[in-house]
């Protein structure tokens, strides 16, 4: 009787263990779904601050992970502000002062345009597999979707967040919820995908909410109004000269 109990327990344990996929393989699939060779998008960023909400409209061009360019289209005060990311460098052009400033050092940790995102968040390597080791720890249903809960631990020293806890949609390979932790283990930011849409074979976030948990306010909503993948982007787009045009 005892032997049968041990064998059954072992079988159950093995079965349960076998249900958890390899974490690294899982985030590779997330990367494959989320990231393309290049993309052009128009989006809105709605910052829900303590004194009300503010909407910014942005057009972005991205090539791989290392090159991106964005231009703020509205509101009028921010219109014409441009950001250029080349490798690990970030420049901002401000039309009212006609100055281009490189954002570096502690400024990278500051809020980007008053949102719950920092410039450092924007600079972060997009492909999870390059920064984190992943381990599937649990499964859970969120927003009626079956998800794996994956613990990501930084494998590079300059990662913006030491660990992340990510809820990955089992079918669509989308990180539906994310909790980002600092080196001390303190929760710093959360991300939640509220709405998704399908474009070709990909599932992509339509509406995301970022929340800096250290800030009062209701977070920053990021809505993608249109996106095109694998389109031709002229080389001149990713140059400092493009900032002043």
């Amino acid at each position: 009787m005892r032997k049968i109990f041990i064998i059954i327990s072992l079988l159950i344990a093995i079965t349960l263990f076998a249900e958890f996929p390899d974490g690294n393989e899982l985030i590779r699939k997330v990367d494959d779904n989320m990231y393309s060779k290049n993309a052009v998008s128009t989006s809105r960023m709605i910052v829900h601050g303590r004194r009300g909400s503010r909407t910014m409209e942005i057009k972005s061009w991205a090539e791989g992970e290392n090159r991106s360019f964005s231009e703020y289209l509205s509101p009028p005060r921010d219109a014409g502000t441009k950001m250029l990311k080349l490798e690990d460098k970030l420049w901002i052009y401000n039309p009212s002062s006609d100055r281009t400033i490189q954002i570096s050092g502690h400024m990278l940790r500051q809020s980007m345009m008053g949102s719950d995102l920092s410039y450092e968040d924007m600079m972060e390597e997009n492909e999870l597999i390059k920064i984190y080791n992943a381990e599937v720890t649990e499964e859970e249903i969120i927003n009626e979707r079956d998800c794996w809960i994956v613990l990501l631990t930084a494998k590079v020293e300059d990662a913006a967040y030491q660990t992340k806890k990510v809820w990955i949609d089992k079918e669509r390979y989308l990180p539906l919820r994310e909790e980002r932790f600092g080196k001390s283990g303190k929760l710093l930011k959360t991300t939640e995908i509220k709405e998704v849409f399908r474009i070709g074979k990909r599932w992509y976030p339509k509406n995301m909410v970022f929340k800096d948990v250290l800030k009062k306010g209701k977070g920053t909503e990021f809505i993608i109004d249109s996106i095109e993948f694998d389109v031709e982007i002229p080389e001149s787009r990713f140059s400092k000269a493009a900032l002043r045009k």
Partner: protein, 421 residues
């Protein structure tokens, strides 16, 4: 009786010289220390009021929660209307809106690329409406190079940061910050002058711009971080009363953006600092009285030995012990008064010297975070003229009271025997 005792003290200097020297020395230190602490306290209040606290300050409740961070995004709105209301309700006071902001000062090269960059603390103050802020911040005296701003788009920067970043007069610099709503803000200014306040916390990286420029730059139309209120002369009690009345009327616990008035004492750890200064002065006077009493007690005992014969004769001819004891105390009062007058006079000379010349403590305060001028001055007040009498006379009398007790131990039956020897 007094005349008799005074003559005795003058003619027999050995009775009075040593106690007078001791007490006068102590009184000199008391007067000097009191005047120095008054100067420190007044300067501390004045400098903090000018740069930081006002005599009272109005902020929002949300701002007050993070007041050390100066979160101008949680600042006051509809400031013109608020100042009109305050001027009506408190006509004796002057109200001044200010915006404090942090940012980066960026000096471009000829191609517009960053040449040098440093962190600055910005002061958006009203430089053009009247001369109140100019006088308050003492800008004319603080100006070390160039001119004060006389038109929009001009900026004053601290001499220290100008030297550090290699900035010259008429250079175009960019201040990078964020608007009241968090967007990145950049604005170009022309450096018209450089200032040195002698206040280390300011000299490390202050920039001063007219508030209208800052409002435009930080998207703070008709807004301010704080409104500072100034009485014609600082008095603590009225500021506490005004704040109580204002807060009862306008401070709403359910509205994080309702206004709250903070009197100077309740800001920036001022209460602790001011109480500590009062405590230190009280402690100094107590310690002085205690030490002087011990010294004068000892001196009285020595005097008693020296005047052993004299007191014996006085007892022998029928003077009562109580009468002698009282006369010794009266003598001590005369000595105390004389010594205090001498000590106060000398103490006042030194105090006035420190009041007008000052003492540069800049090297000791280079890392200090508190707002304080580097030249410390004493301040002679009416109290300086009589503060010395308290320890001077009390110490002298206490010394006499203890040493005089020995008179009661004299045995009259032994007097003639003692006098014969």
């Amino acid at each position: 009786m007094l005349k008799f005792l005074a003559k005795g003290l003058l003619r027999d200097r050995s009775r009075s010289l040593f106690p007078i020297m001791i007490i006068a020395t102590g009184v000199i230190f008391t007067v000097l220390m009191y005047s120095w602490m008054m100067g420190f306290s007044t300067m501390f209040i004045r400098e903090n009021a000018r740069f930081e606290t006002g005599h009272v300050k109005i902020v929002t409740r949300a701002y007050n929660e993070l007041i050390d961070q100066k979160p101008y995004d949680l600042g006051l709105m509809n400031v013109t209307e608020k100042i009109d209301m305050l001027t009506n309700e408190y006509p004796q006071m002057h109200w001044q809106p200010r915006i404090y902001f942090g940012g980066l000062l960026d000096l471009p090269d000829e191609n517009g690329e960053t040449l040098s960059q440093g962190e600055v603390i910005g002061f958006g103050v009203d430089l053009f409406s009247d001369s109140f802020e100019l006088e308050l911040l003492n800008l004319n005296e603080a100006l070390s190079n160039g001119n004060l701003p006389f038109k929009q788009g001009e900026i004053l920067i601290s001499q220290e940061i100008a030297d550090k970043l290699g900035i010259n007069i008429n250079d175009k610099v960019t201040i990078i910050g964020s608007t009241m709503y968090g967007s990145m803000a950049m604005n170009n200014f022309t450096v018209c002058g450089m200032v040195r306040f002698g206040v280390q916390a300011m000299d490390r990286g202050a920039v001063i711009v007219d508030i209208s420029d800052v409002r435009w730059f930080l998207d703070m139309e008709d807004s301010a971080s704080e409104i500072l209120g100034f009485l014609p002369e600082y008095k603590e009690k009225p500021t506490l009363e005004i704040a109580d009345v204002f807060n009862a009327k306008y401070n709403d616990e359910n509205d994080e953006f309702s206004d709250i008035m903070l009197p100077l004492r309740k800001q920036s750890n001022m209460e602790f600092m001011l109480d500590t200064m009062d405590d230190r002065l009280g402690m100094f006077i107590f310690v002085f009285i205690f030490i002087m009493s011990l010294v004068l007690w000892n001196s009285g005992l020595m005097n008693g030995i020296r005047r052993y014969g004299e007191i014996g004769v006085r007892l022998a001819i029928g003077e009562s012990k109580g009468h002698i004891y009282r006369s010794l105390i009266l003598e001590s009062i005369l000595i105390g008064i004389a010594a205090t007058i001498i000590g106060t006079a000398i103490g006042l000379v030194f105090s006035y010297l420190l009041q007008y010349k000052g003492f540069d403590m800049g090297s000791l305060m280079k890392d200090a975070e508190i707002i304080m001028g580097s030249t410390m001055r004493a301040q002679v007040t009416p109290v300086s003229y009589y503060i010395g009498f308290i320890p001077g006379v009390i110490a002298s009398v206490i010394g006499a009271i203890f040493s005089g007790i020995e008179i009661y131990k004299r045995n009259t039956a032994q007097l003639f025997k003692e006098l014969e020897t």
